[in-house]
């Protein structure tokens, strides 16, 4: 798999990370390096091997259905650049 400049630009846009036009070739190149490194894994024959999802045999931890959290709107909003009347205020999103 090879990432071209156009794909790199699209990935950046979907992630809402601004990348200058001049930096795109470098970004595409970095993606390809990473993917190329990972593709080495395809050399291993894993026919019939169960996927390993954890290095220790663990069961997904569950919680009981009880309200134990919340009621701290001020703390939730404290890092927001703009908040009004208890809401996050963001530039208008028009549908």
């Amino acid at each position: 798999m090879s990432i071209d400049i156009e794909t790199a630009a699209r990935v950046a846009k979907l992630a809402r990370i601004r990348v200058d036009e001049d930096d795109l070739p470098q970004l595409a190149h970095a993606f390809n390096d990473i993917l190329g490194f990972i593709e080495q894994l395809n050399e291993v024959d894993v026919e019939g091997v169960e996927p390993m999802v954890s290095v220790t045999p663990m069961r997904l931890k569950r919680r009981a259905d009880g309200v134990t959290d919340g009621n701290m709107a001020d703390r939730i909003l404290s890092n927001a650049p703009d908040a009004r009347e208890g809401f996050f205020a963001v530039p208008k999103v028009v549908e």
């Binding site: 259905d65 919340g70 009621n71 999103v93």
Partner: protein, 504 residues
């Protein structure tokens, strides 16, 4: 279980300018799990709380916060799956669906694309007595809801409330087995009924606890049958998805509009573009959500924060053993056990509270048919007049059973029974005592009835002559006698005596 037999309904046909068209509809219903806390956090799910008060650091996607799954939510999804006779997958897994939107602080929704918790099931969608469509369920997966954006509070800003962020949803995906707008609404109605029987979702559409995305395409007659034979989608038209509807009326109107839009496009030589559309109830039309097009690249991948969800067969069996009697079974039982019409059984099983009320009445009064009549026509009719639900009924099942027993024992006539019902409804009291105290008992004493008949005959000689020539006029005398006795005379006895006295 006793099954009622049924035939599938005819698909809806829309006549275009050139030829006939049929509709093919698949639905994705998002049902909010009736849990106290969210799917991956301990924040409350309560509706209508102050903005951003039901939010934990997990929901707000603060760095380093990790999701821990709410076991109750999983149980409810399994329960729903079992209620839809579906395959339960003992191993499922969570994936990240990535997209950017202000009310999604994580930048992804945790969902189940590759390994859903629940597999194939089915829903029998009743249209009318003896007519029903079996709709196949493809899957149910568990996922997080997003927050809520409010666009009309400020001209330049959108306001975001994260209270709903992270609430557990069950996405129930159907196969494209639905063939018209009415069927689509009936499908949602039936699904909602089953969810409410199971108590896994409260089905409150107004609050957005049950919302539907509808996939609509059109095809020429005959094409759908080819699809069903082969399961090959190429026989069908290109579909459009109408997002996020929370009213049965809008669902029907949106499908109808969308089908006609597609037909006009195709007959004009154009083609349908697969896209996401939004229904505008004010204008009664659907329009393209262009903003969604690029965002459709969701870049799904397994969620690294969560191990696969493994559940045990024994746990599933325990849930299965705790399932209540479901609508289809209850309806079939009402038809066979109480001799009800399918229509009446439908009405009485629509909500479990209605069914429970009816069964309490029958238990005390016997006579299912009479009880059904009184519950549906008198009680429901009266409650509806005041916009009351059955849980607000001033008449208890025991009181209604008392009235029915009085009718059955011929102590009161049907007409008096209605007056008695009104008294019990407005004033309360024991029906038997009321009948005694207010002298409402039916007069079966033939002597008393004879006296009344004699008096009326004596007072109306001209009518007597007419009736002798036209026996149908005897009814007039019966009416007069009933009036004279305040409706308390036994109508059958009055009929006989009037006929005998007039020599008919």
């Amino acid at each position: 279980m006793l099954d009622l037999s049924y035939e599938p309904p005819k698909p809806k046909v829309i006549a275009g300018a050139k030829h006939d068209w049929e509709l093919v509809i698949g639905m994705e219903v998002h049902a909010q799990v009736a849990s106290q806390a969210k799917l991956f956090s301990g924040a409350s799910t309560r509706f209508g709380a102050e903005p951003n008060s039901n939010v934990s650091f997990v929901d707000a996607a603060m760095p380093g916060m990790l999701p821990v799954i709410n076991e109750f939510c999983i149980e409810q999804a399994v329960r729903t799956g079992l209620g839809l006779k579906a395959q339960i997958n003992l191993v499922s897994a969570f994936d990240r669906k990535n997209y950017f939107y202000p009310d999604l602080p994580q930048g992804y929704q945790i969902s189940q694309l590759y390994h859903p918790l629940v597999g194939e099931g089915e829903i029998l969608v009743d249209m009318e007595p003896g007519i029903a469509r079996l709709v196949r369920i493809e899957r149910i997966h568990v996922e997080q809801d997003a927050g809520k954006s409010i666009h009309d509070m400020d001209p330049a800003m959108s306001f975001v409330d994260l209270n709903r962020t992270g609430v557990a949803l069950m996405e129930i995906v159907s196969r494209p087995d639905i063939r018209g707008p009415e069927e689509a609404a009936a499908y949602v109605t039936k699904l909602r009924q089953i969810l409410r029987y199971l108590c896994t979702c409260d089905g409150n559409m107004q609050n957005g606890n049950l919302r539907a995305d509808v996939n609509v395409s059109v095809c020429r007659p005959g094409q759908y049958e080819k699809y069903q034979e082969t399961q090959d989608f190429s026989h069908l038209g290109t579909r459009c998805e109408i997002k996020n509807m929370n009213s049965m009326r809008f669902i029907q109107a949106a499908i109808d509009y969308e089908a006609r839009r597609q037909i006009a496009l195709l007959e004009g030589g154009g083609s349908v573009v697969q896209e996401t559309r939004l229904y505008d109830p004010d204008k009664g039309e659907t329009r393209s959500m262009r903003s969604k097009e690029e965002a459709h690249d969701y870049r799904y991948f397994p969620c690294p924060d969560l191990l696969p969800l493994e559940i045990e067969q024994g746990w599933v069996d325990d849930i299965a053993a705790s399932l209540p009697e479901l609508p289809d079974e209850k309806k079939a039982r009402f038809v066979t056990e109480f001799g009800l019409s399918e229509y009446d059984a439908n009405v009485l099983t629509a909500e479990t509270v209605n069914a429970a009320y009816f069964e309490s009445v029958v238990r005390e009064a016997g006579d299912g048919k009479l009880a059904a009549n009184w519950v549906i026509n008198e009680l429901f009719g009266r409650l509806k007049k005041e916009d009351h639900g059955i849980d607000e009924s001033p008449v208890t099942p025991a009181q209604l059973a008392g009235i029915i027993r009085l009718i059955k024992s011929d102590a009161i006539s049907g007409k008096i029974a209605k007056d008695l019902f009104e008294i019990v409804y407005t004033e309360g009291g024991d029906p038997e005592v009321i009948v005694e105290e207010r002298g409402m008992k039916q007069v079966t004493d033939t002597g008393a009835i004879e006296t009344a008949v004699d008096e009326i005959i004596a007072a109306n000689p001209a009518q007597v002559e007419k009736a002798k020539q036209n026996p149908k006029l005897a009814g007039w005398f019966v009416g007069q006698v009933m009036k004279a006795t305040g409706g308390k005379a036994n109508p059958k006895a009055v009929n006989q005596i009037v006929s005998a006295k007039l020599g008919l």
